[in-house]
C-alpha cells in the first residue's frame, strides 16, 4: 500500500453527491489526491481538517465553456488568473475555448496548452480544439491528432459554421473519435452588426438586433444534421425558448443532441441593456423573461444537460466602447453558483441536488471526463459553500483580470468558502 503523505478531513458538512445519490451529513476524508471515505463519522487524526458544519460539500464544479484566453490574449486573462477565478467559484475543472491568438487548431498548440495547464497546476484545465482551421469554417482542423494529444472536445465557439456541408463533414469525420462538437448557434447573416436581442427594447434604443430566430434556425439545422449523420452535437449557451423546444423534440426522437445554458441567460433580460455600458453585451444576447423561463424548464426536464459560465473576460478598454463596438461577454466563474442558488434554489424553483448535478456529474458524463463525483477513489476535487453567507458582487474584487459583470452590485446568498483540487486546498475565503 502506498505511503500516505497527506490527509484532509472535511467534517460535519451536508454532502451532496448526485452521482451517488447522496444528500446527508457526512465527513469526507481525502488522502493525498483522492477521496478515501465518505462516512457519517470519520474519526481520524488528519493532517488538515476543515470544519464544514452548516456548509454544503459537493464535488468540485465542472465548467465546459470558459475562455481563459491563452495563448495570445493574456491581457484579458491567463491560465493562472482564470484558475484563481475558477477556484473562487468552486470550479475544479474547466474547459477552455480555442478562439485565441493563434486559434488552437493543431496538436502542437493543444499539447502546449496542456503543458501550460500543468505548469499552473491550480485546477484541471481541459483544452477544447477548434473544429475548423482558424475557426474559419472552411477546412477541418487536425481533429484526430488533437484528439490523440488530449483535446476534450471541438468547437468554433464564437462563430456559426456557415456551411452546412462543412459542418456535416466535421460530424462524419469525428464519428470514430467520439468527441463532442460544441456549437455556437447564431445564423451569421441574421446577426451581422447586431448587439442585443431584437425586441421592442432594441427598437426603442435603435440598437441593431440579434434575433432569436437566428439561434432557432441554426439549432434546427444542426439538429437535422445530427440526425442525418447519426452524430452527437452539443449546443453551446442556448438562450431562446424556441431553441429549447427544438432540442427537446429532437431528443425525443432519439437524436443524440445535448445542450448547455448559462446563469446569465437564465436570469437576465434585454430590458437591462443600457447602451452607455456594454456590461450586458454577450452573444447570444440576453433575451426575454419567457426565454429565461423556458431555459429553466429545459434545465429541469433534462432538455438542457449542463450549466456552463461562458466566462468571457476582456480588457476594460475593449468593453468600455460604444455598445455596438464593444467586445461581447463577461466573466462568470466567480458568480455562477451564487447566482443560481439565489435566483433558483433558495426560491424553490430548482432543487439543490439538480443544480449540483448540472454542474458536476452531468458535464463529466457528457464529455467523458473523470471527476464530478465524491466516489471513494475518485480524484479529490471538492467545493464547499456556505449556503447562508450573504454577499454583494464587487467586480473590482474578482480574481479574473476582467473587473466587470452585469451582476456587479447584486446581493447574493451562498458563497464558496473552500475549493479542494487534487487533494489540495486551492481556495479558501
Amino acid at each position: 500500500m502506498a505511503k500516505i503523505t497527506h490527509s484532509l478531513l472535511i467534517k460535519g458538512g451536508r454532502v451532496i453527491d448526485p452521482a451517488n445519490g447522496i444528500d446527508a451529513t457526512s465527513d469526507v476524508l481525502i488522502v493525498d489526491d483522492h477521496i478515501a471515505a465518505v462516512h457519517p463519522s470519520v474519526e481520524i487524526e488528519a493532517h488538515e481538517t476543515i470544519d464544514a458544519t452548516g456548509k454544503i460539500v459537493v464535488p468540485g464544479l465542472i465548467d465546459m465553456h470558459v475562455h481563459l484566453r491563452e495563448p495570445g490574449q493574456e491581457y484579458k486573462e491567463d491560465f493562472e488568473s482564470g484558475s484563481r477565478a475558477a477556484a473562487a467559484g468552486g470550479f475544479t475543472t474547466v474547459a477552455t475555448m480555442p478562439n485565441t491568438k493563434p486559434v488552437v487548431d493543431n496538436p502542437y498548440l493543444v499539447e502546449a496548452m496542456i503543458d501550460r495547464a500543468a505548469e499552473v497546476g491550480l485546477i484541471n484545465i481541459k483544452i477544447i480544439g477548434a473544429l475548423t482551421k482558424g475557426q474559419r469554417g472552411e477546412q477541418l482542423a487536425d481533429l484526430a491528432q488533437m484528439d490523440e494529444v488530449g483535446a476534450v472536445a471541438f468547437s468554433d465557439d464564437g462563430h456559426f459554421v456557415d456551411s452546412a456541408k462543412m459542418f456535416l463533414n466535421a460530424l462524419d469525420y469525428l464519428k470514430p473519435l467520439d468527441r463532442l462538437v460544441i456549437c455556437h448557434e447564431e445564423e451569421t447573416t441574421l446577426v451581422k452588426g447586431g448587439s442585443m436581442n431584437e425586441s421592442l427594447n432594441s427598437a426603442r434604443l435603435g440598437l441593431k438586433g440579434r434575433p432569436s430566430i437566428a439561434e432557432d434556425i441554426a439549432i434546427a439545422r444542426d439538429c437535422l444534421l445530427a440526425d442525418y449523420a447519426c452524430a452527437r452535437v452539443h449546443f453551446a449557451h442556448v438562450s431562446s425558448a424556441r431553441a429549447v423546444d427544438i432540442i427537446r423534440s429532437t431528443k425525443e426522437r432519439g437524436v443524440r443532441v445535448s445542450a448547455e445554458c448559462t446563469p446569465q441567460h437564465l436570469t437576465l433580460t434585454d430590458d437591462l441593456v443600457d447602451p452607455a455600458s456594454a456590461a450586458t453585451k454577450i452573444n447570444p444576447p440576453l433575451r426575454t423573461k419567457a426565454d429565461c423561463e423556458a431555459l429553466l424548464a429545459g434545465l429541469i426536464d433534462g432538455t438542457i444537460d449542463c450549466l456552463v459560465t461562458d466566462h468571457s473576460p476582456h480588457a476594460m478598454y475593449e468593453k468600455e466602447l460604444p455598445y455596438n463596438q464593444a467586445q461581447s461577454g463577461f466573466p462568470g466563474l466567480e458568480t455562477a453558483l451564487a447566482v443560481m442558488l439565489t435566483e433558483f434554489v433558495w426560491t424553490g424553483r430548482l432543487p439543490l441536488d439538480k443544480l449540483i448535478e448540472k454542474m458536476t456529474i452531468a458535464p463529466a458524463n457528457l464529455f467523458g471526463l473523470d471527476g464530478g463525483t465524491l466516489s471513494v477513489g475518485a480524484r479529490a476535487d471538492v467545493a464547499i459553500f456556505d449556503p447562508s453567507l450573504e454577499w454583494t458582487v464587487d467586480a473590482k474584487e474578482f480574481f479574473s483580470k476582467a473587473k466587470f459583470s452585469p451582476f456587479d452590485g447584486k446581493k447574493l446568498k451562498g458563497r464558496v468558502t473552500h475549493t479542494v483540487c487534487n487533494g489540495k486546498v486551492v481556495f479558501k475565503i
Partner: protein
C-alpha cells in the same frame, strides 16, 4: 407660471428624460429667441465666458453649424472638432477624447456619434453638460424639439397637438429622428402613423403607433407629413430594390400629398434627396416647412444651451 420649471445643469440625451413642462419651457424660450435672430445685431451676452465644444464623431453640416452659431449668438466661445481630422483617427478611445476635452475647462459638449449610447456614456463620464446631437439610430433630441416647435408654429399650439395626425414616411428602422419625434409627439398626444417598406420598419413597434402598408393610406387626412432621408446604402444592404421603386411607392410627391388635408405641413430633417424620398415641387411647395425647420433648429439649440448652461431665460 414656469418659475419652478428648469433644466439648468441637465444633460440632454433623449426626449424621454424630460417632462412636458420642461419641453414647453424649451420651446417657449426658443420662440423668444427667434425674435432675437431677426435683429441686425444678434449677439447676446448670456453665455459670455462659457466654452462649448462641438464633438462630432460623424459628419454633419446643419446640426453642427446650428449648434455652433447657437452658442456664438449667445456669446459663448465655441469650437468644433471633427473626428475625421482629430486624434480619434489615431486610435484615441472615446473616454480619452472626452477626458481630454473636459480638461480644457469646457462647460458643455455637443456630441454626435454613429454608435448608440455614446452621449449617455459621455454624461456618465465627464462633468460638463452633454447635449446629444445624434447617436446612431437612437436619439436626436434637438431635432425632435425643432420639429415640435415647427408643428406648433404652423399647425396648432402645444395644447392642441392632441389628436393631430402626424405621418412619418421612410426609413424608420435606421432613424434617430423618427424615434425622437415619436417620443415627443406621443407626449403631446399626437396621433402617429408610419409608412415604410417593411424592411425599413423595426420588427417590434410600439402598439400605440399605426403602421400603414402604403403612403396613400398613411397620409389620408394627415395634418403633418414628416419625410425621412433615405440613405443610399440601404440598396446595397438588400433592404430595398432600387431608388426608382422606392420613390414610386414611398416618395412623397404632389399626387400622394393631395390625399392629406389641403393645408397639411410637409417636413424633412434634411438633407433631402430631391426626387427620391421627396419630389422637388413638394420640397419647395407652399406646404413645405423645411426651411422654417432649419431656423427653428437654431432657436431650439440656443434655448437648450441657454437653459442648461445659465438656467435663466429672463436675459433677453
Amino acid at each position: 407660471m414656469q418659475s419652478n420649471v428648469s433644466i439648468a445643469g441637465r444633460d440632454v440625451i433623449q426626449i424621454a428624460d424630460f417632462d412636458a413642462e420642461q419641453i414647453r419651457l424649451i420651446l417657449n424660450t426658443a420662440v423668444e429667441l427667434k425674435s432675437v435672430l431677426k435683429r441686425s445685431i444678434k449677439k447676446l451676452p448670456s453665455l459670455r465666458g462659457k466654452a462649448i465644444v462641438n464633438l462630432f464623431f460623424e459628419p454633419s453640416t446643419r446640426t453642427r453649424s446650428s449648434f455652433e452659431l447657437a452658442g456664438k449668438y449667445l456669446g459663448a466661445d465655441v469650437i468644433s472638432i471633427n473626428a475625421a481630422t482629430s486624434s480619434v483617427v489615431k486610435g484615441e478611445s472615446v473616454r480619452d477624447t472626452l477626458l481630454t476635452i473636459e480638461s480644457m475647462a469646457v462647460d458643455a459638449m455637443i456630441i454626435r456619434h454613429k454608435s448608440e449610447g455614446v452621449p449617455q456614456f459621455a454624461a456618465n463620464t465627464v462633468k460638463p453638460i452633454v447635449i446629444n446631437a445624434g447617436d446612431g439610430c437612437h436619439a436626436h433630441p434637438s431635432q425632435a424639439l425643432l420639429d415640435l416647435l415647427t408643428i406648433s408654429q404652423f399647425k396648432a399650439p402645444l395644447d392642441d397637438i392632441k389628436g393631430l395626425k402626424v405621418v412619418i414616411l421612410g426609413d424608420i428602422l435606421h432613424s434617430r429622428v423618427a424615434r425622437s419625434d415619436i417620443t415627443i409627439l406621443k407626449m403631446f398626444g399626437a396621433d402617429i402613423h408610419l409608412a415604410a417598406p417593411p424592411t425599413l420598419l423595426p420588427r417590434f413597434v410600439d402598439p400605440s403607433v399605426t403602421i400603414h402598408a402604403t403612403v396613400e393610406d398613411a397620409v389620408k387626412d394627415a395634418d403633418v407629413v414628416i419625410v425621412l432621408r433615405l440613405q443610399l446604402e440601404r440598396m446595397q444592404a438588400g433592404l430595398i430594390p432600387s431608388e426608382d421603386e422606392y420613390s414610386r411607392y414611398f416618395g412623397l410627391d404632389a399626387r400622394k400629398l393631395k390625399l392629406a388635408k389641403p393645408d397639411a405641413l410637409v417636413m424633412h430633417p434634411g438633407p433631402q434627396n430631391n426626387g427620391l424620398e421627396i419630389a422637388f415641387d413638394v420640397n419647395y411647395s407652399e406646404q413645405s416647412a423645411i426651411r422654417a425647420q432649419v431656423n427653428n433648429g437654431l432657436a431650439v439649440r440656443m434655448a437648450l444651451l441657454l437653459l442648461t448652461l445659465s438656467g435663466e431665460r429672463e436675459v433677453l
